[in-house]
Symmetry: C2
Subunit: 101 residues, 2 copies
């Protein structure tokens, strides 16, 4: 089984209260304890000096033990509940998954 790196770049809507953004980040961080097959999770605010962030202000990485674990995560009730919490406050998102070559 090949690991899958699941990476999202996010931009919160203008006016999203800081406490709401913090709640969203915190709830996302709980998912690896609720859903199996996630080896690693990290998230943070953009600090690149390159100016190539295309408006995205945050990124997170989840490393799944397999594509099957990633697929199960996407439809897991805890993930769907997270999406219902987060998406109303997200202005833009880009997601790329890859299995390291």
């Amino acid at each position: 089984m090949s690991a899958v790196h699941h990476i999202a770049f996010l931009k919160f809507k203008p006016g999203t209260p800081e406490v709401k953004a913090a709640e969203i980040i915190s709830e996302l961080g709980r998912l690896p304890r609720l859903i199996g097959g996630i080896r690693d999770f990290s998230i943070g605010a953009n600090n690149s000096p390159q100016g190539l962030n295309q408006g995205y202000t945050h990124a997170f990485t989840m490393i799944f033990e397999s594509a099957a674990a990633r697929d199960a995560y996407l439809v897991h009730p805890a993930h769907l509940a997270f999406e219902r919490l987060a998406l109303p406050h997200v202005a833009a998102v880009a997601v790329v998954d890859y299995s390291p070559e």
Copy 2:
């Protein structure tokens, strides 16, 4: 010192020969052996079923031991040489760096 995750989403220009894309990926993979302070490197082609990749076809992650190591990488001659090789074939790029919260 806080680690920095340096993540890029890439889209090659239409018509980029496969052998050229492979060369670019291979040369990027050499940088951690030429430039200090890179703890981990991985790259791959998008395999997300979510359809949120916004046109990006590849992603890579470099984990630097510190923001200073990331800053030194950005201006390192080996990185600049890589940019001269790659950028003519890159249609779009988004870069977000973060120190895990």
